[in-house]
């Protein structure tokens, strides 16, 4: 009915369409607006851009067309035309469709080199921008590896470029291996056997662990996203109904982000499954396993809930029975890929692996434990039997499973310095719509091949969601893509870097590389929410082109403090030093109250000596290029980016000194000096008791030890001398001097009182890098290591007995006289902890037949408190979820000292959030501040102790 009536009415509608079309297209009717060139102003010249199309290489089909007289523009070319790009002047499509070799990426890259050269010569620009779509992105990346490419490209935009191998290639590859196993149980090339676990050795554990996470999430989805979901937003259908990943993306964005990253980025720290890295040609994306885990988790949730499984369609016909083996191969692989993902993922969990996650799951589900997991990969070319030829000879069908995958896997390489990458990815169905069980309309299956290149600091990753209609071809037609690409080429870009300053001032610094020019200033943001003080020190160093800047241009560092409403609260700026080999600018800003900080660099024309400053100043973009060739390079069309290095450091305020403290944080106590040590004075027989000398610094009142203590004369005692136990036994210890310290806690298992404190709001530490200690403090201890006695006649005695806090010495002299004896206590850092002196009188007559022996002298020094630390927290954790660590400390007052303050860094309790899996060190610092009173002197020594644990961080967290 519909088609028949359409035929009868076709001429009517066609006529009407023509008439209406003519009317609309008439310039008068159109008012000169639609259908015409949207911008007649040629505008400034842009950095020329070369468009590299995808597979097939035909330039004319991918990019649409620029608007012309009487026609609207379409595609990316129309968007670029709106930004004053003109085809043939600023925009140059590249065509490599004549290359039909499998090696087309490399060959096309060479042709692209010629195209770049031609464009540079034609336009006179110093650099070009490259926009590559699909394999065109790979060609661009490969071109950048060629000699001479560096310095010629400013920005490389990758649109869905399978830099890490297309997901489909992985599927085909794995499916091909499964097919191979079915066909030939013996592996080709003497490769892995069925019992082996080649490169992805521990994928089982990985998938199992992740599946547990996704299984839990699926339950949440059924509640929130299904039976308890609220009404659909106005104007929207419940298009995502039944879509686990769509719900995941919208309702658990933080977890989805982690999931997304996991599926996109090669792990910085190998998770368990990557302990044995893939061999060359066998690189797999983590995405494959992540997706496998998601589906496995969902399946296991359903299986646990229903206790049954169902096959909703019969398995495909086997290749072995296919009437057309050659055609059957592809069909078989297609079906087998889907099976593989599902069946193998389920099998992973059912096999006995020593995985904590699996054990947890096993307790929940009575899974069979027999079997060995085998995960294998295959060479890039596979041979399948394809019957026999007319002569009866066997025919082999050779399938190139993944040549495009491994050959062009460039994911590990960064482009040359100076090239900014903008990666545009789409979430599309990809081939999942055909292969992936459970994918429904509008499901957000990430187009994983797009974004797998490593990102530098100022690279951009843009994900365009919500695409539909199958493959990533849809991405190229999406207006949001056109806008994104044009923005990347023309608008100021923001360094995609946020740094959240920790609440607890422990110091922080970060170095970030970025690029800027006059019309495209670069800025980064530093979030300082919750910072309680300190100062931000910003240093920006020009990495090069300093000579250029001297040619009439200045460089300025600026910083805006921005409040929560994005209003600029305060502004600072500093000019770069114009002399010296390393141009840099530096700002120091108060951090309290800072909400957000934008830091940037801009170029400004500066007055030459004798020139009117006003005439030369102003907006950098409005400089006078004609005045100076360098200005032309910097400010004119096609302005070049200049690299900078931002260094942002946050210096916390020093802790307030405790009342009465003389030297907070004193690294070494009581240096010798006039204030501490009285000047030498004449020997006074009355000043010495008959058998024991009182040290002149009025050490605490201890009963003088008896004479006849250990005596060592120069030279120092030979190695191996028996150590001497300290004599400061508790019975002899004086009452603890100094101010009252904190109340000791209960006596712990260490026999020491616990001194741990509490943090009201534990600070949270986001760990973005691998193997980073959580505290930035270093262990710093000061303790006695050595005694040195000076006998006053040029002789010295040394005692390095560990822990000897009290040293007794009875000097003897060959001749009568008055001798000044000094005892020095040296610290582990080589400083003098304490000096004591005595005057010893040897009366006449002594020493004539035997050495005149003086009294036994006793020197005492500072003891280090006894401290025991514990850091309690999980030994294994998952990414994205705060792990709480608690610091406990036990400490005992040292002789002559009283513990005055104990603090922990980052806090007595703190949370750590890891963004990536791996093995991390978590360390906390405890600083024990002891106030000593000895010899009538009081001073403070602060020792810092570190204690760390290892944490295995494995997977994305569940949200409950």
């Amino acid at each position: 009915m519909g088609s028949g009536s359409g035929g009868r009415c076709g001429w009517v509608r066609a006529s009407a369409t023509v008439v209406v079309g003519l009317i609309l297209l008439h310039p008068a009717a159109a008012g000169g607006q639609p259908g015409t060139i949207r911008s007649r102003d040629p505008g400034p010249r842009r950095v020329p851009v070369i468009l590299v199309p995808g597979l097939g290489g035909e330039a004319g089909r991918a990019w649409g067309h620029a608007p012309g007289p009487g026609r609207r523009g379409t595609g990316l070319l129309a968007e670029l035309a709106d930004r004053a790009y003109r085809p043939g002047r600023d925009v140059f499509p590249f065509d490599y469709s004549t290359i039909e070799d499998e090696d087309f990426v490399r060959l096309a890259a060479r042709e692209l080199a010629g195209k770049v050269q031609w464009v540079l010569e034609r336009t006179g620009a110093p650099e070009v921008d490259l926009v590559g779509y699909g394999y065109g992105g790979l060609i661009g990346r490969y071109y950048l590896r060629l000699p001479g490419a560096a310095g010629r490209v400013r920005t490389l935009v990758l649109i869905a470029a399978p830099a890490r191998g297309a997901f489909s290639a992985h599927l085909v590859r794995v499916a091909a291996e499964q097919a191979r196993q079915d066909l030939w149980p013996a592996p080709p090339r003497g490769g892995a056997t069925a019992e082996d676990l080649p490169p992805f050795r521990d994928a089982v554990t990985y998938v199992a662990e992740r599946a547990v996470v996704y299984g839990g999430l699926y339950h949440e989805f059924l509640g929130e996203g299904e039976v308890l979901a609220g009404p659909a937003p106005p104007g929207q259908a419940r298009a995502e109904a039944g879509s686990f990943t769509a719900w995941f993306a919208t309702q658990r964005p933080h977890l989805y982000r982690a999931w997304f990253l996991e599926t996109q980025l090669p792990p910085l720290t190998p998770p368990a499954c990557l302990v044995t890295p893939p061999r060359e040609g066998e690189a797999l994306t983590l995405a494959y396993y992540e997706l496998l885990a998601l589906e496995t988790g969902r399946h296991h949730y359903l299986r646990a809930a229903t206790r049954r499984t169902v096959t909703l369609k019969p398995p495909p016909e086997s290749i072995l029975t296919s009437p057309d083996p050659a055609a059957g191969v592809l069909e078989y692989l297609r079906a087998a890929a889907a099976d593989y993902l599902y069946q193998r993922g389920r099998a992973y969990l059912e096999q006995n692996r020593t995985s904590l996650a699996f054990q947890v799951l096993s307790r929940l589900l009575p899974l069979p434990t027999a079997g060995v997991a085998a995960e294998r990969l295959v060479p890039e070319r596979l041979a399948f039997p394809a019957g026999r030829d007319s002569a009866g000879r066997p025919i082999q069908h050779r399938l190139t499973a993944n040549h495009l995958l491994w050959r062009w896997n460039q994911s590990e390489s960064l482009p040359p310095d100076g090239v900014r990458q903008v990666i545009v990815a789409g979430r599309t169905l990809n081939l999942a719509g055909a292969l992936w069980q459970g994918v429904t309309d509008n499901d957000l299956v990430v187009e994983v091949e797009s974004t797998l290149v490593p990102l530098a600091e100022d690279d951009h990753l843009v994900v365009i969601p919500g695409l539909w209609r199958g493959t990533h071809l849809a991405l190229l037609q999406d207006s949001r893509l056109h806008q994104t690409v044009a923005d990347a080429l023309t608008l100021p870009h923001q360094v995609s870097h946020w740094q959240q300053l920790p609440d607890r001032p422990a110091g922080w610094a970060r170095r970030i590389r970025a690029r800027a020019n006059a019309w495209r200033p670069t800025y980064l943001q530093v979030a300082a929410q919750g910072s309680s003080g300190g100062r931000l020190v910003l240093t920006v160093r020009a990495d090069g082109h300093w000579e250029a800047a001297r040619g009439g241009l200045g460089w300025q560092l600026w910083a805006h403090a921005v409040d929560a409403d994005s209003l600029v609260q305060d502004t600072w700026s500093a000019e770069f030093e114009r002399e010296g080999p390393v141009p840099e600018a530096r700002l120091e800003l108060p951090a309290p109250g800072l909400h957000r900080l934008l830091v940037g660099v801009r170029l400004t024309p500066l007055a030459a000596p004798g020139e009117d400053q006003q005439s030369a100043s102003g907006d950098g973009a409005g400089g006078s290029p004609a005045r100076d060739p360098w200005a032309a390079a910097l400010l004119g069309p096609g302005a070049r980016d200049f690299p900078f290095t931002y260094e942002v450091a946050w210096k916390p305020d020093p802790p307030p000194p405790p009342p009465g403290a003389e030297r907070p944080g004193l690294p070494a106590a009581e240096p010798p000096g006039e204030a501490d040590v009285p000047p030498p004075r004449a020997a006074d027989p009355d000043s010495l008791p008959p058998r024991a000398a009182e040290p002149e610094d009025h050490a605490p009142s201890r009963p003088p030890a008896s004479a006849g203590g250990d005596e060592r004369l120069t030279p120092a005692p030979p190695p191996g001398s028996p150590p001497r136990a300290p004599t400061a036994d508790p019975a002899e210890s004086p009452p603890p001097p100094g101010p009252a310290g904190p109340l000791p806690g209960p006596i712990g298992a260490h026999g020491l009182p616990e001194v741990s404190g509490h943090t009201a709001e534990p600070p949270r530490v986001d760990v973005q890098t691998v193997r980073r200690l959580i505290t930035s403090r270093k262990e710093s201890r000061t303790y006695h290591v050595r005694w040195e006695w000076e006998l006053g006649d040029g002789r010295r005695a040394v005692d390095s007995t560990p822990g000897l806090l009290v040293s007794r010495f009875t000097p003897a002299y060959p001749a009568p006289g008055s001798y000044v004896v000094r005892a020095f206590s040296f610290s582990n850092q080589g400083q003098i902890l304490r000096e004591q002196r005595w005057t010893v009188n040897i009366p006449a007559g002594a020493g004539t037949d035997r050495p005149g022996q003086g009294p036994t002298l006793q020197a005492e020094t500072l003891g280090e408190p006894r401290v025991v630390l514990a850091l309690e927290g999980p030994a294994a954790w998952i990414v994205g979820r705060p792990a709480r660590f608690t610091v406990r400390a036990w400490a005992e007052d040292p002789p002559y000292g009283k513990i005055e303050e104990v603090e922990a860094d980052p806090g007595w309790a703190f949370d750590v959030v890891w963004s990536r899996p791996g093995t991390y060190s978590v360390a906390a610092a405890v600083t024990v501040r002891v106030r000593y009173a000895i010899g009538g002197r009081r001073f403070t020594v602060a020792n810092t102790y570190l204690h760390g644990v290892k944490v295995d961080v494995a997977a994305t967290s569940v949200s409950r």
């Binding site: 039976v227 499984t309 096959t311 069980q437 459970g438």
Partner: protein, 227 residues
Amino acid sequence: MRRPHRLLLLIAALALPPVLAAAGCGPARPFVLLVVDEANSHALEAAPAEDRREPAYHLDLAEDSLVVADRAMAPGGRTRLLVAYHARGRGVTLVQEVRRADRLPWTLHLTDPLRLEGEVRDFHGAVLGRHNVIDNQQRLVPFDLEFLGVDQEGAVSIRAGDEQIVLRPGDSWLVAFIRDAGGVRLLRWEEDWAAARAAFERGEPVTRLEVLNHGFWERRQVRVGPR
């Protein structure tokens, strides 16, 4: 000779529209697009191990387009209502189809049992045979939806059990069903959704039913074809 021609053309111009309209090929009559979404917490009795079903339709509101897999789901010239019906159990599609109503009133039989057959295996993999894996007892909607009429603004009158509702374009009607001592109890989003949540958290079956009115659509917005 030219006048009679002009006269003939004039007569034809005046007479053609009614003739075309009578032949059913006049301007495409718009229809109202409704989405009926049924989500069941317990209706699925087996986890799909293999499921290669293709979606029956795709509704893209961003582009105001509907793609249906089968021509039978496409609206005809007399279609008054096009109802996209999607029922799920534990997040898995039980049925997804587009039905068209050329005459009103018209009933969407939600109480009819659904079937989803496949080869079922037990937890340990033993084959149990081919069975329907939908537990229709756990689909708690106790009534059918009877679509009574459409007004000029596109508002649809619907009888749902004992009540009659009018859904204007852009409106939705959202209810949930749980079991209690008195049988199946209807819960409203605005009033007692907490009871639905409590039932879900107790592990009891919950069914959510939402009807959305997307207003008038035209036939050209519906395409038959692959995804």
